[in-house]
């Protein structure tokens, strides 16, 4: 049986890390959408989505990334994807995501790619 969908939120180097696990389909995408909306409402625009635990993604999940990208970048932030597995990556690739999104190997690297967030960056990477 497939795993359900879960989101855990943490912080690293001034970026918000949304660790998603399980499947992101038309059923679970609304939960992911609200999680990102909550971040934006509280003024957080440096987002890293840690996809290490993601077992499946369909266009409904990809649509969430797409619908927020422009707004987040206009506000000076970004939504970066980290630790995405080969199965999910091949789907992103079909749609040309690698040209449009910053897709990074690790969460550490993704978080480090944001500029200094008002002095909060460790600089120890």
């Amino acid at each position: 049986m497939s795993q359900p969908f879960q989101i855990e939120i943490s912080e690293r180097d001034g970026a918000r890390i949304l660790s998603i696990s399980g499947y992101l389909d038309a059923h679970t995408a609304p939960a992911f959408e609200s999680a990102i909306e909550n971040e934006l409402k509280s003024g957080k625009v440096r987002l890293v989505v840690d996809c290490a635990g993601l077992t499946y993604i369909s266009s409904a999940g990809l649509g969430v990334f797409m619908s927020f990208l422009e707004e987040i970048r206009e506000k000076g932030g970004d939504i970066k994807l980290a630790s995405i597995g080969p199965k999910a990556f091949q789907i992103l690739d079909v749609l040309g995501f690698p040209r449009l999104f910053d897709i990074v190997e690790t969460v550490e690297e993704a978080a480090g790619r944001f500029g200094p967030p008002g002095g909060a960056r460790d600089g120890c990477l």
Partner: protein, 152 residues
């Protein structure tokens, strides 16, 4: 159609059917069904994952557009496996819509307009070898997707 104990020359063909209420909560069950049939057809793991995605996208479209998320509808997924092809037919009795007539805008343009619709059909076309849509007004809508089985 091959019958059990029929002539040996008949093409080998098997049919598997899943009928579920039109709720996105059933997409996981639909994917499990499709993956099982894909494995049975002999596709390798990555290909099974891609076929599963295509059927998920088609069913999600039916739930959202044909039934407007009304869970009283039903979605039928019929898989037919023969020597050459694995075919999936997705059937519903909802409002007929034309999924092939989707926006051809590129993904960058969809992001600019903050409108992510139409991605599902794009993925279906990328994965399946043949995609056809049939509407019988007031009766049934069906999307038929075929994946060729390449042997050897």
């Amino acid at each position: 159609m091959a019958r059990r104990g029929g002539r040996e020359m008949d093409a080998f063909e098997r049919t598997f059917t899943l009928l579920v209420p039109s709720s996105t909560g059933n997409l996981a069950m639909i994917r499990d069904f499709v993956a099982s049939v894909g494995v049975k057809a002999g596709f390798e793991e990555n290909e099974v994952a891609r076929i599963t995605l295509a059927v998920d996208e088609a069913c999600a479209n039916v739930i959202e557009h044909a039934y407007s998320r009304d869970e009283k509808g039903q979605v039928t997924i019929r898989a037919t496996l023969d020597d050459e092809d694995l075919a999936f037919e997705i059937m519903d009795n909802g409002r007929g819509f034309e999924p092939l007539r989707v926006s051809e805008d590129d993904v960058a343009e969809l992001i600019r307009r903050r409108k992510p619709g139409g991605l599902g059909m794009r993925l279906i076309r990328a994965v399946m070898d043949d995609v056809k849509y049939q509407i019988t007004p007031g009766e049934m809508n069906g999307l038929r997707m075929v994946k060729h089985i390449r042997r050897g």
